[in-house]
Point group: C2
């Protein structure tokens, strides 16, 4: 639609149409594109410190490198890393995220300060932390949730926890009603290891312990089998695709977006963390998702519009928020882009969707609105940039002291 006005009252969009009568604050959006804010459905915000660290390792080696550093990260550093990631996310048009990282209460405070929407929580990884303490952290977070920030039960992976932790998480889901978020079927090694240990595919094991549910979110699934997809479909669970991370970590496999959507499964999209992508720009991720499908299937069945659905409509379903298109009654989570950006011209209704997916990057975002509030725009752009640079300096200083030590100990 061209030349439309959008009325926002409180947290919601209340009217969309031509030549609406203004009563209140008006933002001139001529030569701008308004789209629903994007949901980055899988990330690790606290990892921006590790952007560009160990970029040539495959998943398991890379994870071991990360874990050896992560053991030493203070709450302060994770807070700074998360803040840098949240600035990058908001500036590139992300209005909500699903996060999995250590010290989530620090990240939660930053998210609240900036007014972005998100799901986050402590992570079960049996080698790295005590599941009892993770559970306690999660219970503590329950009291600090608000309209925008909600806790999630994070399990790192089926290969990084024991069966008792899986059962503990299922009991927590029963008790709290919180969603589950976990990496599954990411590599062929994982599938083989789980088959050796349990004699079953990963999703089958999760099904047995009661973790495949309507509010479960499974991430990666490059090596998922057809019968696991049937279980996911039957139970109404959700899946998230992280194409860049899968490619960069050489995990191979096929994530069947078009088939999943046809089966009625809700499919989100995520950048994964700044250490495995190494960007938090969901616009770039949308392009990657289409390109990877087309390369894997030698077919153009995956369209640009599918990628936009993954980042918007499907993302809102994942986080349980009414939104995903610009319509009355939806939450006012919106992104404004300049239609005059270099690289998006010529721009018209015929190539709008293509331009958003194949040409745009987060750098074309002019303003980000969450829950009816303009959390980023021309009014605070300079503040965002200055704060990012300030954090960048602190992390550079921290890295120059921390990382060499870690490298020596390897």
């Amino acid at each position: 639609m061209e030349d439309v006005d959008i009325r926002i009252e409180g947290e919601e969009i209340t009217e969309v149409g031509r030549e609406l009568k203004a009563d209140g604050e008006v933002m001139n959006c001529s030569r701008m594109i308004a789209m629903p804010g994007m949901v980055n459905a899988h990330t690790h915000l606290g990892m921006s410190l590790l952007r560009g660290y160990r970029d040539d390792e495959e998943l398991m080696d890379w994870l071991n490198s990360m874990w050896s550093v992560e053991r030493r990260l203070s709450e302060e550093v994770i807070g700074l890393s998360s803040e840098l990631s949240i600035i990058e996310s908001i500036m590139s048009g992300t209005t909500a995220f699903i996060d999995m990282y250590f010290h989530p209460s620090v990240t939660m405070e930053v998210a609240k300060k900036y007014g972005i929407r998100g799901l986050l929580g402590p992570v079960f990884i049996d080698g790295l932390n005590d599941p009892k303490l993770v559970e306690n952290d999660l219970r503590n977070m329950l009291s600090s949730r608000n309209e925008l920030i909600k806790p999630v039960i994070n399990i790192h992976g089926i290969y990084s926890v024991g069966k008792d932790t899986l059962e503990r998480a299922a009991a927590l889901m029963d008790e709290t009603g919180l969603p589950l978020n976990m990496h599954v079927d990411e590599t062929r090694d994982e599938v083989m290891e789980i088959r050796r240990k349990y004699g079953k595919q990963p999703i089958e094991v999760l099904m047995d312990v009661g973790l495949v549910r309507r509010n479960s979110i499974f991430v990666h699934l490059g090596w998922v089998s057809s019968w696991e997809l049937e279980i996911i479909t039957r139970e109404g669970a959700n899946v998230v695709h992280c194409p860049t991370s899968n490619m960069k970590l050489a995990t191979g496999g096929f994530f069947p977006i078009v088939e999943l959507m046809k089966m009625g499964v809700n499919v989100g999209i995520g950048t994964d963390g700044p250490a495995s992508n190494n960007s938090l720009d969901v616009f770039r991720e949308m392009k990657m998702a289409v390109l990877l499908q087309r390369n894997n299937y030698w077919s153009t069945a995956m369209k640009a519009s599918h990628a936009i659905s993954m980042a918007t409509k499907n993302g809102y379903e994942l986080i349980g928020v009414r939104g995903g298109d610009i319509a009355p009654g939806n939450k006012a989570d919106l992104v404004l882009l300049s239609a005059d950006s270099i690289g998006l011209l010529p721009m018209g209704p015929d190539n709008l969707v293509s331009n958003l997916v194949y040409s745009a990057t987060g750098r074309d975002v002019v303003a980000t609105i969450v829950n009816g509030r303009i959390i980023y725009g021309p009014h605070n752009r300079d503040e965002f940039i200055e704060r990012a640079i300030e954090i960048g300096r602190k992390l550079e200083d921290y890295k120059s002291r921390l990382l060499p030590m870690v490298q020596l100990s390897k």
Copy 2:
């Protein structure tokens, strides 16, 4: 290297070191990254009019859609499209290009006006134009070449010309010494069609007519066979990879970068045109090249540094210019990026290469220098943007008049 000065005299870099004595104009580059300007080794600059047009078609259908429009494009429109593409290229850090499109003399004039370096020339496509006229156009261009702009013999593809045109091109190479640039082994259909017609693989056919030489440039090669690679290696010909275009047009196949580099073949990188990518940003293309290799091979053998070599060192070899690293005696073709860009922080010597390949986009470019001249920088940024918007409007207007007509006739 950190904290270095670069001295440029005339067209060349003459000194690189710490605390050089200034005599002349000085540009303060603190908190900036200097890298060699990038060579976009395969593009179709005149196609920005068609950005986002027919994005869901596979190569042959897509080509037919393009050709049906392209028959009607005036020199004026191609000039405007090329200018928009050249602005986008320069602003995103490209200092040289290898172009294949119609009415190249119009594009040549634009390139000269902006001071970018390039190889371009008319295109042999037997269905669409008369090879005699193409040859005449090329001869006319020979007289207008200069230090920066040189003609190239473009053949669209082995499937889109007859054997007599291939032979004509070989005779032209003998006579003029000009390089050859052509799409080869792009799809499985092409290989099958050529095998049916000639009983040989495409590169074997080209070898027979004398087109595989030291100054031949073969683009795409997703479906190249091992024995064709041996011919390319033996004859010292060059190859160019266009990962985004190959993925988007679902051509499948494998372009074996690491193996080719090991064999000593010079491998460049290209965005392909703004209608098949749909961006001319070589930074984004470098990331795509690494990701695609890692996905195809389930291995991290391809590194970020390989991608940078493809875009710089190897690109300069393709265009026959001394450059590709910042060293005395090389042409002063340089790009400056802000080290404080959002999405590149934290930035340090340990993650510089990673950040350039995996995090940066052309939007982080602050200045572009070609042949010792600052052709883009803070001084003319607004002019570039204004001109791009002006052209964007003209092309939007032109499209709204032209494209519906074309769509009706399909």
